[in-house]
Amino acid sequence: MTMTNSELVVECCLLAGRLMMESGAETYRAEDTMDRMAISQKLTDSQSFVMPTGIIFSGNKTLPTKLVRISSRTTDLEKIASVNAVSRRLVKAEITLEEAYDELKKIENGHRKYPFWIQILAASIASGAFLLLFGNKLEDVPTALVAGGLGYMVANLLEEKTRVKFFAEFFAAIVVSFIATLSVSLGLGLEVDKIIIGSVMPLVPGLLITNAIRDLMAGHFISGVSKGAEAFLTAFAIGAGVALILSF
């Protein structure tokens, strides 16, 4: 095996790990994928150390240890599935290393997402469904539909513009609770609290909380604590936004 080839293996593993962590995969899955890819390319004593904010990967004793930074994290299941499919095919030797690297690059650059209006529609449907699941009355559903959809839209647009997630969620919570209080004071809705709980569900970091505890249980303490901190900050931003409106 030539030197350049094993360097490509390291690059390929790092790219796969970074894509997975950026799209919200579990820490152990990213480590497992990287190790499997490395072993299939005959780097049998590779070491990977994955955190939500960065990955350290060492191919073997002679290769330089590499580090990549992970600056943004979202939930993108399609990306996880495609990276997983590429690594599976690489391990089974259905594609060569170069092909795998090209495909990973393709996943990184261009990749399918649902149109924005469908996402907003989904957010409002989810808000309405949650409102009813939490035992509220049908009269509040229209408010929750509007508030949930608008809140999600504001959160997404602001995050794109400002790149600060907590600010975006804070503002979205303000929008949601403003719509809820407005509709209740106009007599269109009945219970402010329940409308708000249903409509902030698309923003609440439920996945982060669960993933954090799961990582802690699996022994990934750094990942668990940092994901927990992110979840706490997000929840705090939402709570603060809601409280700001309710205190008037």
Binding site: G24, A25, E26, R29, T75, D76, L77, E78, K79, I80, A81, N84, A85, R88, K113, Y114, I118, Q119, A122, A123, I125, A126, A129, F130, L132, L133, F134, G135, Y152, I196, I197, V200, M201, P202, V204, G206, L207, I209, T210, I213, R214, M217, A218, A235, F236, I238, G239, A240, V242, A243, L246, S247
Partner: protein, 149 residues
């Protein structure tokens, strides 16, 4: 509320979250199914025991179990099916109440809600891990049985 109605609602909620999390198109229906099964188990256990922590454990266990079956069927990572299903169980309501009370400086009530949210998310994580370990054990045993003859 009838279980049929709850089933339809939780299906819609889980499938919508599948879209928000950008799940692959062909997995959306199964995402909804996983979420529906989990929520129905949660609702039944919650009614029997009146304890959201136990009910969340049962729901999460079911979700992870069904998600494993789906994952083997579609050859995709488990997380794709379990994530959207877990969302209805996640203690968004109690986390929200805890945060709201902290911001309103009502710390005692906030502690209560915060602890409940922590317990529920802990039991969800436990349910997920238990189901994963059991399916792994099952696969190992099946693999050995296949090797023997």
């Amino acid at each position: 509320m009838s279980y049929l109605f709850q089933g339809i609602l939780s299906f819609a909620a889980a499938a919508s979250f599948g879209i928000l999390f950008n799940a692959p198109k062909k997995s959306l229906l199964s995402c909804g199914l996983v979420g529906m099964t989990g929520w129905l188990i949660y609702a039944v256990v919650d009614q029997l025991s009146n304890d959201p922590v136990e009910a969340s454990f049962a729901g999460a266990f079911t979700i992870a179990f069904v998600a494993h079956i789906m994952a083997r069927h579609y050859r995709m990572p488990v997380i794709i099916f379990s994530v959207a299903g877990i969302i209805p169980l996640v203690p968004g309501g109690s986390a929200y109440n805890a945060m709201r009370n902290i911001v309103e400086k009502d710390y005692n009530v906030a502690m209560e809600y915060g602890s409940l949210a922590f317990m529920i998310s802990g039991s969800i994580a436990m349910g997920l891990v238990f189901a994963e370990i059991i399916t792994q054990l099952y696969l190992k045993v099946m693999g050995r049985l296949k090797l023997k003859p």
